[in-house]
């Protein structure tokens, strides 16, 4: 059961432009939403998160937006840099970090 979906397997943007990665979920019981970044041959690393009581969280170049009514969240990276090229996973959890569900990932390529 795919409770967290990332429908775009890949995204390519030019350096300096905005990258927008999207994620949809089906379980209204999710309380926390997270984005992880993964480089080849490494484990995923935490990037940014948002609680269901908020609709926006910003950390430097990274902003996550949550639309609960649409069960949709997005990650904005501005400006995009070549070092941002990686696979980004959206994840959701219903109880702090219990049974965290992941999307299939979106491969972001930032071209110089």
């Amino acid at each position: 059961d795919q409770q967290v979906k990332q429908n775009s397997p890949s995204l390519s943007v030019q350096e300096g432009r905005i990258s927008i990665l999207n994620c949809d979920y089906t379980n209204s019981m999710f309380d926390y939403f997270l984005w992880y970044k993964k480089y080849p041959a490494e484990g995923p690393t935490f990037l940014i998160s948002i609680s269901s009581i908020k609709d926006k969280n910003e950390d430097g170049r990274f902003t996550v937006f949550l639309n609960k009514s649409a069960k949709h969240l997005s990650l904005h990276i501005v400006p995009s840099q070549p070092g941002d090229s990686a696979v980004y996973f959206c994840a959701a959890s219903g109880d702090y970090n219990n049974d965290m569900r992941f999307g299939a990932g979106t491969r972001l390529t930032v071209k110089p």
């Binding site: 997270l34 484990g43 690393t45 935490f46 702090y96 970090n97 219990n98 049974d99 965290m100 992941f102």
Partner: protein, 117 residues
């Protein structure tokens, strides 16, 4: 602070053979997770430990997979006998626990890549 350690990094076995993966979480982290990531998919939770007790193993194929976390620190994940569809990266993660940590963040190891021929 040392990260989550996993070994081996790579393993190639024939189907029906057995394999074991080891994980050492970040010191002091009470919760340990094993995830399976098949190529092109997101990580899927296999089992979650809180200290040395199992919190969730509902997605663990118990006829062939087993895991233990002795003394609430290191953990091993075993597959016996392996099938072709078990080819995946096995990720171990840890977190401070339900009462700590930041926004539910998990700390992942580099993973153990299994190829079953």
């Amino acid at each position: 602070e040392a990260g989550v350690a996993q070994s081996p990094r790579y393993k190639i076995i024939e189907k029906r053979q057995s394999v074991a993966f080891w994980c050492n979480p970040i010191s002091g982290h009470a919760t340990l997770y094993w995830y399976q990531q098949i190529l092109g998919q997101g990580p899927k939770l296999l089992i979650q430990f809180q200290n040395n007790g199992v919190v969730d193993d509902s997605q663990l194929p118990k006829d062939r997979f087993s895991a233990e976390r002795l003394k609430g620190v290191d953990s091993t994940l075993k597959i016996q006998p392996a099938k072709l569809e078990d080819s995946a990266v096995y990720l171990c993660a840890s977190s401070p626990g339900l009462a700590g940590g930041r926004s539910g963040e998990l700390f992942f190891g580099e993973g153990s890549r299994l190829t079953v021929l």
